[in-house]
Homo-oligomer: 491 residues x 2
């Protein structure tokens, strides 16, 4: 196809890295581990943001903004939280540069040392709960349902565009409740929001579950998650929602007077999805020709390429295309008419395939005579000739079809890659031969979980919320198991 894209079957990881670059989604910057999100990639992220933001607001949440810096002492207040984040954070120690006295350039001014170091937020529980203490006095102030869209920094040593970067963009919800049950309900509500968004907007099927203790968020009592399966058989955690109990309320002394006037610590949740979703989106649907985007998130849903010789033919086509563009836009369909005369149609076809535009129209001389368009769909690469009169209706149907089709395809792949095993040998065999999720019994101990991880690199992705609850014996130790859990190698 002239795209010089490595095939997935040859080297999936290389295919991904190349695709992100060639489709103009993102690239590495001059700052270690930090990416530049390019306009085309950012346009997809903006559509994700808009979809999620609407869902958050419909469920009663409001946006706010908290400082990017966290005083070191705040981070330390919740014991397991600091354990989880102190090892990989960017630390601000000074607030000024100056000219070096030896004329060698600009250096840190030692006189501008901060009394207390500031951490660039890896997540905002601590600064937010320090603020909530001032906002919450009574049950009338609850629930507090707040979300923030922000950048965060975790000093990861091994980074990959979108999947793991030192700086990433995300949303983080932080809610406060009067009762334990309300907070649990909130964490579960958000899990449903995330799952709905993943499946209906991204067309990515996800399994909803809870994390084992060792995979929990640092400071959480329970971590809920959605897990997706990539085409290479590896799982990807696409979003998490945490029930934090009273941990942060106790660490930051956030109490409220309940209806009876009694003081109690507040119950909390936090939850987030990040630009990592871009990685999940890319890896779930794309193929050896490039990106495949769900119509709901595609920055350009329909592209129109004229095929012509000479400006007279182009003018005639442009005249035919203009009302079509107008009609599609009036229906909320984003459309681009690419009449650049610096590039040939074949080049443009390749480019829009690479960029995953769901529907491509071409119109040449025969189409002009017959009053037709050639219509190609990106997901199956099928082409058809459609009469101009039927075109808008056909495009509307196609966009819906593509959204459904790529979801079904991903779902079928996922279903075909959930294997139930009863022995550890079988587990290892399936893991090597096929990958995917493996449903197996586990004795519930961190030791066994750790041993499996060390020996196979597979981790417990989740204890599925809707899995069966058949009891059995741990595949490794033979000890009793209350239910099967899902293992996989993961991103």
């Amino acid at each position: 196809m002239g795209k010089n894209l490595t095939k997935r079957s040859e080297d999936y990881s290389k295919w991904y890295n190349e695709l992100v670059l060639k489709a103009d989604l993102a690239e590495n910057s001059g700052v270690r581990g930090c990416m530049v999100i390019k306009p085309y990639g950012f346009a997809i992220w903006e559509k994700m943001q808009a979809g999620l933001d609407k869902m958050f607001k419909e469920t009663g949440h409001e946006n706010a903004y908290f400082p990017i810096f966290i005083p070191k002492s705040y981070l330390s207040k919740e014991a397991s939280h600091v354990e989880g984040f102190a090892k990989e954070c960017a630390v601000v120690t000074h607030y000024r540069l100056k000219n070096a006295e030896d004329g060698s350039g600009i250096v840190v001014d030692p006189e501008a040392k901060l009394e207390e170091e500031l951490i660039v937020r890896p997540t905002s529980e601590t600064i937010i709960w320090d603020t909530y203490r001032k906002w919450i006095q009574s049950y009338r102030d609850l629930p507090l349902l707040i979300n923030q869209w922000a950048n965060v920094v975790r000093w990861e040593m091994r980074t990959r565009l979108f999947l793991r970067t030192a700086e990433f963009l995300w949303q983080e919800g932080h809610t406060a409740h009067a009762t334990k049950q309300e907070a649990i309900d909130e964490a579960e509500l958000i899990l449903k929001v995330y799952a709905t968004f993943a499946e209906e907007h991204m067309a990515v099927p996800v399994i909803q579950g809870i994390k084992t203790e060792s995979e929990r968020f640092a400071g959480a009592v329970e971590t809920y998650c959605i897990e997706a399966l990539m085409q290479d058989g590896k799982a990807l955690q696409a979003g998490t929602s945490h029930f934090l109990g009273q941990n942060f309320a106790k660490a930051f002394d956030v109490k409220f007077a309940n209806k009876e006037g009694k003081q109690d610590h507040v119950w909390a949740t936090s939850w987030g999805v990040s630009t990592r979703l871009m990685g999940a989106l890319i890896m779930t649907h794309s193929d050896d020709n490039g990106l495949v985007l769900p119509p709901k998130l595609a920055p350009i849903q329909v592209v129109i390429v004229p095929i012509y010789k000479g400006l007279d033919q182009l003018d005639a086509i442009s005249e035919r295309v203009a009302p079509l563009v107008k009609e599609l836009r009036s229906k909320g369909i984003s459309v681009k008419y690419d009449h650049r005369d610096t590039h040939k149609p074949g080049f443009k076809f390749n480019e829009y395939e690479l960029k995953g535009v769901p529907v491509r129209l071409a119109i040449g001389q025969r189409d002009m005579e017959n009053n037709t368009f050639e219509v190609a769909r990106r997901d199956t690469l099928e082409k058809e000739t459609v009469a101009a009169d039927d075109l808008v209706a056909r495009i509307e149907t196609l966009l819906e079809d593509i959204q459904t089709n790529i979801y079904e395809k991903a779902l079928n792949f996922r279903e075909a890659h959930i294997t139930t095993v009863d022995t550890y040998d079988e587990f290892k065999e399936v893991l090597e031969a096929k990958g995917g999720f493996i449903s197996a019994h586990w004795d519930g101990t961190a030791e066994t979980e750790e041993r499996i991880k060390d020996e196979t690199k597979a981790t417990i992705r989740c204890i599925p919320l809707d899995g069966d609850t058949e009891t059995g014996k741990c595949m490794v130790t033979g000890k009793p198991s209350e239910r099967r859990v899902l293992f996989a190698k993961a991103y």
Copy 2:
């Protein structure tokens, strides 16, 4: 009114600070100079973002995202740029914390020192132009019209909510062009966009002009600005658009092949507005009763307060109100029905006045009998009784009226506070007695500008783009002046 708000005439500065807090817009955080933008304040900022973002896209710009960190060496590449920003930047020197060996807590790990310090971006020209070098080879890659919504940090010593904070939110546009004229046109186009947004969305009249050399952005060849006038007679710079010449292209070696195949450095602009606009919005319109918001930016445009005794009356009112709420929403009007039974109507009236909700409806027993509503507008505090059948149309008219009225009021104030003077004595007299903009002749030297600033605290806000070009003599030195410029004390 029971709001305990300091009067503007008593202490304008205190009035502003109290209002920002009491109207739930923002507050100081535990991190020096960094603010928390509260949900109500953030909802206004979101509306500003949406309005500006639409205008940027309509003028051909795309959003992208660049790293928050800038390597120290990048900042140094453009000489005047580093001079302008090195003195007030947050410096990341380490990437890990660890437990102190003496058990005293968490400390910076000296082994995790960065080879090169990273600056938290005060503005992104340097990291962006380092990236553009990879994106631009030919005239076909130009123009590059990119915007970013981001947080930035400037270590200001004296901070005030929204007006001057160590961290603030903004958008920064960074464009690249093949010719000098194209770049100048872009900088001027954006100035028009900013002025239109300020006047039509924020209802804040602005003067468009250019800055003198000493007030220019660090690294710019020309800085265009919009200047607004606050009710205390001080000016506020509301947005700037910079023509950067080839300064950054040369510093980062960004060249392109023009149509003739010749290599040339790229021409650039950058431009930004920030959460400072919130300060301008608040100070332009608000009064001793609280915020006054333009309907186009008000998170709640219409609030409905029921006046009742007992739940039967409330139920009847709620039934009457439900279809009204639905109809208003269907017209895109944001409406809140505040039926909380924990607060009295008088309390609610005060609250919504304080929060600047443009239109307040009240409905009590007499209204129920007469099928009317009491309608109050926030800008003039006028009340009227409106028949239910006429209500929606009346509200639509009112929202337009309020938007126009507060703009006209601010414009009249501004026009009444532009004084033309010809002597330095008169200048000082007007500055003390009345404030506002003072139009005067100046000899064009930085020395005279500096002397005026030292002696009076007034600065040259701008050389207005549409001012007359009458020549004259500098009010201070008597030297020839090409035209009058606008002075003011400023935020």
